[in-house]
């Protein structure tokens, strides 16, 4: 049996072999299993986009829940939305847009080989990201103070212009709104934390002068992630904060 198999071995060979790539001089940052730097770059960008698609679906489940309950409880949605702070939310939107700008500028600095540009822009991005989280903290704090956290202690209060807290009657379904508010913005904030961590790593790499016009995959790919997190907020802001929001009402 074994003998028969031995003679069969390699009897059919669908390939011709080539050893063309052995002559190439490898870039020091090229990993062994890639044929070329181009292949490596394309693989990492495609990889990040596919990862972002999973992120879209991850948030997609939440948006689905949002849609269903908004359809069920339109009144609760507008009235609860009114309790969110548009000024802080809007400021945060602007902060994130600024951070997206500094992010692209950091990537662009890598493309043109400016180490200083990378460092400055990455630091700005990290600072803006942190600003977002600080503002978010104050928003959450206010929600806790106003009893807007769902659960056994849900006890909505409203802050009047004179500074006093008065009880507030919110329609049924508003607990679901606030649950979704906390989960959606919470998971978004978690992504911001991850993003800031990523930017710190990029800052170290940039400091070490790792990125050259030939090789800047990590910073480019991290940038894609950062912009994605920004895009999620671009949708969260109008969908959560701006329902039934009217100046002076």
């Amino acid at each position: 049996m074994a003998d028969v198999r031995q003679t069969r071995a390699g009897a059919v060979s669908p390939v011709a072999h080539a050893s063309a790539h052995a002559e190439h001089a490898h870039h020091p940052r090229q990993q062994h299993h890639f044929y070329s730097m181009e292949q490596q770059l394309e693989a990492s960008i495609l990889g990040m986009w596919i990862f972002l698609v999973t992120e879209i679906m991850f948030f997609g489940g939440l948006f689905m829940a949002y849609l269903v309950y908004r359809h069920m409880y339109p009144l609760a949605w507008t009235e609860s939305s009114h309790e969110l702070n548009v000024i802080l939310g809007g400021t945060n939107t602007a902060v994130l847009i600024c951070s997206s700008l500094t992010m692209v500028l950091a990537v662009r600095s890598a493309q043109i080989g400016s180490r200083k540009g990378q460092i400055v822009n990455l630091i700005l991005t990290i600072m803006l990201g942190s600003t977002f989280l600080v503002i978010k903290y104050f928003e959450y704090k206010a929600k806790f103070e106003h009893g807007l956290v769902p659960g056994p202690h849900f006890d909505p209060h409203e802050l009047l212009p004179n500074g006093s807290l008065v009880p507030l009657a919110l329609p049924q379904g508003s607990q679901i709104f606030f649950s979704l508010y906390f989960i959606m913005t919470g998971i978004h904030a978690l992504h911001m934390v991850v993003g800031i961590g990523l930017m710190l790593v990029m800052l170290v790499f940039a400091w070490q002068g790792r990125f050259t016009p030939d090789y800047y995959n990590p910073i480019e790919v991290s940038g894609l992630y950062w912009h994605f997190v920004d895009i999620v907020w671009i949708f969260l802001f109008p969908l959560l904060y701006l329902l039934g929001y009217h100046f002076g009402v």
Binding site: I56, V104, L242
Partner: protein, 103 residues
């Protein structure tokens, strides 16, 4: 698609223009929310958000310069989101048609 795989270097001016457009978009959303357009409130807000997101996606994230494959990936991500929403709402929006509870 250039053979190097790298996007051509975009001028800073383009980035600044997109940035300004995004800020204007944000202002516009808040402004639009302060006026009552009835049933159009949500479409207007979403329209602005989609425009802003597309700007970020195409320019900041460089999809404009990317391979067709990347574009397919982005579009299929959105398509699957629509499948989730569409077939899910297919239940919720037709629940009252039958006039029989729970059907």
């Amino acid at each position: 698609m250039s053979s190097s795989g790298h996007a051509p270097i975009t001028p800073v001016g383009t980035y600044i223009m997109v940035f300004v457009a995004l800020l204007i978009g944000t202002g516009l959303t808040v402004f639009a929310a302060s006026r009552d357009f009835g049933a159009l409130n949500t479409p207007i807000a979403l329209g602005i958000a989609v425009t802003k997101a597309s700007l970020v996606c195409l320019i900041f994230m460089g999809v404009r310069y990317n391979t067709p494959l990347t574009k397919v990936v982005v579009v299929s991500g959105l398509l699957w989101l629509l499948i989730l929403f569409g077939l899910g709402l297919n239940d919720y929006l037709t629940r009252s048609w039958m006039g029989v509870p729970g059907r």
